[in-house]
């Protein structure tokens, strides 16, 4: 028989490298997001646009299947820019809703429960904390946006064969750049709102409100000024203009493309500033 002395010992196992500590935040936040069955089901549904896109690409190259359902390749019209633009929208909209559902619980909950000092008293700084939280959205949104879109593009290129992809490289570029830009903007914005508003339900409302109120404001400004100047604050118009520009299509307003990029850049800058102001390990009470 042995007698075991129960004493405290320092952990001697492997430590997560300092440069990857942010991934710990991401891991736990992702686990929390998927702890909800409703969200998991919704996330699976967000893959539908990609699956539909893959099916339509396959259908348009399958003559016998087309014949069986009474369609021809000419009727399908080939898969043009319009198809890919529509698919882009179908992917971007669910991505927005995923951000609305997940983002408020990323930072608002930590602030409301005074958990930020607990995080920041560990060997992790504000940058790691924010990167970790943003990574959650990047990881969630990528499969349902640019990854799915590129998969459809690659499938189409393969089935078309030849140099289809060289002629239509813009489609792939639009998916990659457009969706990544959308992910960056919506992630920063939603996380910043989550930090500003502190309460999850209010953060969700604020995110909706900001997008839609600014859209309404932009349209009102355009109306009274008989110009497109209001679109400078129209986030949705800015991102779609960027995508149209990459597609090589005419823009939805008469502002230069730089204006849309400026809108997106300013949104990101403002979001970063809000995060810088709100994420502190201490509170100053006046």
């Amino acid at each position: 028989m042995a007698v075991y002395e129960r004493i405290w010992r320092r952990y001697e196992g492997r430590l997560t490298p300092i440069g990857r500590r942010w991934s710990v935040v991401t891991r736990y936040a992702l686990a929390e997001a998927f702890s909800s069955r409703i969200f998991t089901a919704f996330y699976v549904l967000c893959l539908l646009p990609t699956l539909i896109g893959i099916f339509l690409v396959y259908l348009s190259h399958n003559a016998s299947l087309l014949e069986n359902i009474g369609l021809t390749r000419e009727f399908m019209g080939g898969l043009t820019d319009i198809f890919f633009q529509i698919l882009f929208s179908w992917q971007a909209i669910p991505a927005f809703f995923v951000a609305v559902i997940v983002a408020p619980s990323l930072i608002a909950a930590d602030l409301a429960n005074n958990a930020l000092p607990l995080y920041l008293s560990r060997p992790i700084n504000r940058r790691d904390y924010v990167v970790g939280k943003l990574a959650v959205l990047a990881i969630l949104l990528s499969p349902i946006t640019w990854m799915g879109g590129l998969l459809v593009f690659v499938l189409q290129s393969y089935l078309e064969g030849g140099s289809w992809w060289r002629t239509n490289w813009r489609i792939g570029a639009a998916y990659l750049i457009g969706h990544v830009t959308w992910i960056v903007v919506i992630s920063l914005l939603s996380v910043a709102i989550s930090a500003w508003v502190r309460f999850k339900p209010a953060a969700r409302g604020a995110l909706f409100g900001i997008i839609f109120i600014l859209a309404g404001f932009a349209q009102a400004v355009n109306f009274v000024t008989r110009s497109s100047i209001g679109d400078l604050v129209h986030l949705l118009r800015a991102i779609f203009n960027v995508v149209l520009w990459i597609f090589g299509q005419p823009l939805r307003n008469d502002l230069p493309i730089a204006a849309s990029w400026l809108t997106l850049a300013l949104t990101c800058a403002l979001s970063l500033w809000l995060l810088h102001r709100k994420l502190r390990a201490h509170e100053v009470v006046e």
Partner: protein
């Protein structure tokens, strides 16, 4: 402890006044005013931009300004600014305090729960009405300022003032009706923004709905009171406009009915703060 009216209406009036005063102070004088201010600045910004961009040829003819303002009022001020401002103010009355874990202090006072609901509603309504009415009035004035003396004489005319009074009245009624709705939403639902967004969607769809469904929206009655009719677009379903007196009655009834429901719900309120 002695002092103060013992019971009944005198006490309730005083308690409602105390609660309302507190809510007005917190909504308009504290940090909470920032989002409301941002919302209020938007229509003012639109009016200023219009003043800057208005072509010279149109400055001498203020006639179209009435239509333009009517469009901005209906499609932007009412449907977005007033909607979201009241959502922000009224949802915080109960739900916000539940999240802040400070609601129990009100429940620990010798206040009837119904009086508590009414007092908070009155405070929210005063705050929303002041902010939104001021916004609407200032925006309306700024719309006519670019027209110089013509604009000022219209502002001061009977017709102009009547128009202004109508818009301010509609705004106050909108605050009353939407406010009662959001107060109730905050009491019934953990995440009141979800029904708020759904209701916003419903209100945006109203022009395309048949008459009997239009009657289930608040904006239908508000629209009936507007002094300058606004086109809802080529796809809108036209319906018989509601007479002014009926629209006012309906809005007041909606507000009071929802408030009564909220007051009833407050009676069953329990304090179980939890992590959301």
């Amino acid at each position: 402890m002695t002092g103060g009216p013992a019971t009944g209406w005198p006490l309730w009036r005083r308690q409602i006044a105390v609660l309302a005063r507190q809510e007005v102070g917190r909504s308009l004088l504290g940090r909470r005013v920032l989002p409301i201010l941002l919302l209020a600045l938007m229509p003012l910004g639109i009016a200023l931009l219009r003043a800057l961009f208005l072509p010279e040829s149109q400055r001498a003819h203020p006639g179209h300004t009435t239509t333009e303002f009517a469009q901005i009022f209906h499609f932007f001020l009412l449907r977005f600014i007033a909607f979201f401002a009241t959502a922000l103010l009224f949802v915080k009355l109960f739900r916000g305090e539940m999240l802040e874990r400070s609601l129990h202090f009100h429940l620990l006072a010798p206040v009837r729960r119904e009086v508590l609901a009414v007092g908070k509603y009155v405070g929210g309504l005063i705050s929303a009405a002041l902010a939104m009415a001021a916004t609407v009035a200032l925006t309306w004035v700024l719309f006519y300022v670019p027209h110089g003396s013509l604009g000022f004489s219209y502002i001061a005319s009977g017709r102009g003032l009547g128009e202004l009074a109508a818009y301010v009245g509609i705004t106050v009624l909108a605050c009353a009706a939407y406010g009662a709705l959001f107060l109730l939403a905050g009491l019934f639902v953990k995440n009141p923004m979800v029904p708020a967004m759904l209701f916003l969607g419903w209100e945006l769809l109203t022009p395309f709905l048949p008459g009997y469904l239009k009657a289930l929206s608040i904006v239908h009655y508000l629209g009936s009171l507007e002094p300058v009719p606004v086109s809802q677009g080529p796809f809108a379903l036209l319906a018989q406009p509601v007479p002014g007196w009926l629209a006012v009655l309906a809005l007041v009834a909606i507000s009071l009915g929802l408030l009564a429901l909220a007051a009833w719900r407050t009676r069953a309120l329990e304090i179980t703060y939890s992590v959301d």
